[in-house]
Symmetry: C2
Subunit: 400 residues, 2 copies
């Protein structure tokens, strides 16, 4: 294969970290060693912020044992950033790249990172500066277009499914209404993954609320009452992005009500608010005594030692592919996506999709995967099941 371009490379990590984002980093480091087109591989501290501030760490000489341990460590080993660069910011990035003879840019992140990558690549093209820009997907929200699913999602989904399995047993032990709130402001994939906790008739989650399915307080209460009447308990999984029919999230509306009611005493910006509010509704409107709520929070993306093996492998694979493609003459830019070739047995292949098919835009749950505004379909369960790997053992005295 002809090497058309040679120079230094920069790798960065961006946005909310995941528990396998370092698998991608290590995939890039390991693969870069196998190629000659990358001279120096520089890690940018805290993503684009580290680029414009020229805070780089050399990555090529780390030993493999340490790299494997880093790969198993959640959260961005290079540091991450919430900066969303505009054209001026990207111009500065490009200037730094030129200064450091950077010809390859590997950016691990979500749709915002793909957007940054796209702008940088367009600026480079306009200036006829040879730069290959590869986006390596990562998001627990699973909301990238074109991509069948995103590295980071499987492990977060595994955490959610396992947590709900255990919590459901807890709710059987001491029956009541339990509300669990999951991350995913605009996309319900992670909350929907809780369906994998259901194994037998009567198992929770009994109600699943997603940002994609508008929810009134009336419907919520009627749903809970119906389940409680039938089972004497109810386990609810709700996305933090649950919305009223007018599009406003429950959290936003609650915050504005609180601001009005409470003047400035206490601002309730915490994510605990939604679960507490839903619980309070159930207590006061339905008169149910034992009501509890948990917000799974950052543990969903950072809990160590519980990753999905499939997810870990795929996070490394897409990164490895990015480095391989960067060596090819025809590659200029793109995001490394996965396509599901077969679901049973589960098999994927990777392909390069242009950055503008992924940048900025997001994906939501398919309408056909949402049932009755409070549940998800068996087809969605089939979609998500291979991504989480084997779930923990759960059994009851009633089994035979």
């Amino acid at each position: 294969m002809a090497i058309s371009l040679q120079g230094n490379a920069v790798v960065g990590q961006s946005g909310g970290p995941t528990s396998v984002i370092n698998q991608s980093l290590v995939g890039i480091i390991e693969e870069a060693r196998r190629h000659h087109h990358i001279e120096k591989l520089l890690g940018a501290r805290h993503g684009v912020r580290g680029i414009i501030e020229e805070v780089f760490v050399p990555l090529q000489h780390l030993d493999s044992d340490l790299l494997e341990r880093i790969a198993q460590t959640p959260a961005a080993a290079l540091g991450s950033t919430r900066d969303k660069p505009d054209r001026d910011y990207c111009q500065r990035i490009l200037a730094v790249f030129k200064k450091h003879h950077v010809r390859f840019f590997f950016y691990i992140g979500g749709n915002d990172s793909a957007d940054t990558a796209l702008i940088v690549q367009e600026l480079a093209a306009a200036e006829k500066y040879d730069l290959r820009v590869l986006h390596i997907p990562k998001t627990i929200d699973n909301d990238l277009r074109v991509h069948d699913h995103c590295p980071g999602f499987g492990s977060a989904a595994r955490f959610v499914a396992a947590a709900v399995m255990g919590d459901d047993r807890d709710n059987v032990s001491l029956p009541g209404v339990k509300i669990d709130v999951m991350m995913g402001r605009n996309a319900g994939f992670l909350t929907a993954a809780s369906i994998l906790a259901r194994h037998h008739e009567g198992d929770g989650p009994h109600l699943i609320y997603l940002p994609e399915a508008p929810l009134t307080e009336e419907k919520f209460l009627a749903d809970v009452q119906a389940v409680y009447k039938r089972l004497g308990r109810c386990l609810i999984c709700a996305s933090e992005g649950v919305r009223h029919p007018d599009g406003q999230t429950w959290t936003e509306k609650l915050a504005s009500n609180l601001d009005m009611d409470m003047h400035k005493n206490i601002q309730l910006s915490g994510l605990g608010t939604l679960g507490d509010h839903m619980g309070e509704l159930v207590k006061t409107k339905l008169g149910i005594k034992r009501v509890r709520s948990d917000t799974f929070g950052y543990l969903q993306r950072s809990f160590p030692g519980f990753t999905s093996h499939v997810d870990a492998q795929e996070a490394r694979l897409v990164a490895t592919q990015a480095v391989k493609l960067s060596a090819e003459e025809k590659t200029v830019e793109g995001s490394i996506a996965m396509r599901r070739v077969s679901n049973s047995p589960y098999q994927i292949e990777t392909f390069l999709t242009p950055l503008n098919t992924v940048a900025r835009l997001t994906k939501q749950m398919e309408a056909s995967h949402i049932i009755g505004g409070n549940d998800v379909s068996p087809a969605f369960a089939d979609y998500v099941r291979p991504l989480v790997g084997t779930l923990p053992t759960i059994a009851t005295l009633d089994e035979t």
Copy 2:
């Protein structure tokens, strides 16, 4: 060994479940099969509630494969209860025991369950009804007196330590102030176990707040400011039972302030309140922008597939010992406790302690294990380390 007593046995589970409480249940079932003094082994559904309502399930004929799967399942397989029986309630329990020829009562629970066991045993003794009452310890709070530590604690501590390890990496990736709130209203053991997340200089948790160490808002803010100034970030682990110097918990005070301020609009009974409030203090008083909080909630006691192997083994061991002791002529009542024979290598032995040494009373962290009101000692880390088993791998680019 002479068998002095023969008859039926009842086993029950009580209080907040743990992820290894079924190890104890299975330990009793398996061991009961090896003895002849127990004729029928009956499981009481939902603890004492199932006894007085005579809702029993036969347990002797479950197959070993199912039992092993149940042992790995968190939360009480028989169901649990929050009932705290008085003498009248216990009189009803005794009446049911007599009716069903129950001569052995195995009660898996905390100090309240030990109290129930004690009352039932005293009533039986007063009526000269031969009944052997054995308490099998279980509590994530680790607050039983006499016991070196309690089954259930090690797995909850393992969850907390791992969660904080991952969360600390997340906080390094995107620096700010992060507050994690742990269970343990009166005893700080579980919160203190977060110290195991610290491996290198600069690792969190940077501040650990326990119910045993009174905390003013002023001290809290001064502590956070000092850490933030030094490291540019701060990870805080706080017990839900953090108290003001007057003994009132922060949560109680907050709830009463809110009630006053908000009339009856929204009651904030959720556990998210403390973390949100601490976060809001940091934002408004210290002007730090990135502030987040998580309340670990029920996951601490119910997360499956992540138990401490040591804890699982010990939960089964104490139950097995209870059945063995119930066969001995001299046994009348007691709680099966562990004594630490050696810490390195870790080794324990079990012994029987009278129910009145464990009933009702609770234990708190030793004062010598609390440092400066915001940290715990290396000696406490040594105490808790063997209980959690091997923690997940964590590594950083800065390691060599």
